[in-house]
């Protein structure tokens, strides 16, 4: 639980040091007769929005579904993929598959401007 409080809002980086997002939420596994255990860390804009206000979360979801990259689900990273907790939280995933908004902005807007470095 202490670990949970510590890593919440920390930076997530992938194996290569690329930013994946922030730890916007933590998934706990409740066990009979034992202390709850962290089963996954979550990251996603609507999760961030939910912690501000539920209405903001609805807006964020609608934005993602109607104008953005689609499916408004947070990225769920199983606890077993967490490699190291230091200044950042290093996780064993590929950031390239993990950031729908980043890719949406890259493919629809930034990548189309000349000189963006294709």
């Amino acid at each position: 639980m202490e670990v949970g409080r510590q890593i919440l809002d920390q930076q997530l980086v992938d194996k290569t040091g690329l930013g994946v997002g922030k730890v916007d939420g933590i998934m706990l596994e409740l066990r009979n007769g034992a202390a709850p255990r962290i089963s996954a860390v979550l990251t996603g804009g609507h999760l961030f929005a939910r912690r501000l206000h539920p209405r903001l979360e609805r807006w964020a979801r609608r934005l993602t579904r109607n104008w953005g990259p689609g499916k408004p689900e947070p990225l769920r990273i199983p606890w077993s993929k967490v490699m190291k907790i230091g200044v950042d939280v290093k996780v064993d995933i590929d950031a390239a598959d993990a950031m729908p908004w980043e890719h949406w902005v890259r493919d629809r807007i930034i990548g189309r401007i000349p000189g963006s470095g294709s």
Binding site: Q11, R106, I110
Partner: protein
Amino acid sequence: MSKLLKIALGIFTSIGGFLEVGAIATTAQAGAAFGFRLIWAVVLGTICVIFLVEMSGRLAAVSRHTIKDALRERFGPRIFLLTLVSDGVINLLVLAAEIGGMSLALQLVTGISFRWWAVPVGFLTWLLLWKGSFSLIENGVSLLGMVAVAFLVGAVMLDPPLNAMVRGAWPSLPTERPVHYWFTAVSILGAAISPYLFYFYSAGAIEDHWDEDEIGVNRAVATVGMSFGAILAIAVLVVAAMVFHPHGIEPERYEQVALLLTSPLGRWGFYLFAATLLVSCLGAALEISLATAYSFAQGLGWNWGEDVRPRDAARFSLVYTVMIALTSLLMVAGIDPLKLTLFSMALTSLTLPIVTFPFLILMNDRDYVGEYGNHWIGNLAVIAISLLASIIALVAIPLQLMGG
């Protein structure tokens, strides 16, 4: 890189960051309206910004965190968002003022209205961010910014009375027009203590991979660089106090401010003023755009970095692109750049505690800075000055708006 070169470069950057449209406009106003009497506001603002810049460098060197990154981690989404919105709005206004400043510099030289220049100037700013590297922006532009030394030359040539200047460095109550006096004082404070300056500085320290070894360099750069910047700002005030004040001239437009240097330096003075305005505003515009993009990226966990190709930091690049486009359009709409500058500087003062208080908590938290925590003098100076600036601004801004 040798330590000495590092210090020298850092100092140049800090001077470049200090003197921009806000500092020029507010000190020129102060000198014209109140002679030397508001020098204290420059001094007070400089003390505060030296502490804050030093702290942001130390935070980066010890904790490897930028300010925004640490704010999000330590305080969670609400406080982080509060600071993001507050300095996002301020940065937008100040960036518009800088783009206005560049456009006006070109208007002075060409005679073509600043509204025509806003889009080309915005495009140039964007292109430098899009294609340029961090060191190009940091070092190139601030070296060019040395043209601002013209103000120091001008001030010395005018042979100002030293004892009146020294008296002005000590805070005093206004003898006339109190609202204008206090409004100008908080504008100066806001121009000196621009939050984008230390956000930019903290991101730069992370991009340059600082560690504990840099703490000494950092302290020297912050102190010497900001003090030099302050001397240039005081020089602007002194020139205005010598040239405008005795004749009761109070510049209402930048065209009038431009005549500052013609008295000591003749025709050259006019061009030097335009060049200083152009270069210093360009430097500030680059730093503000980057600082805002950094803030979003560091607080929300996006990829960031000025040396990364735009498509590899798409959302980061999107922030500065949208911001520059918006502010250029704001200037095309024909908002008075001088009024906008003074107003946004005062607004900066008003919002200072939102930025500085959470930052101070970080700087006293052993989890972040360990044994390198703040000295109580730094804490006290920043709390006192930002509270003072904010309270005066709270009273002076509405009164100024009603009166003006």
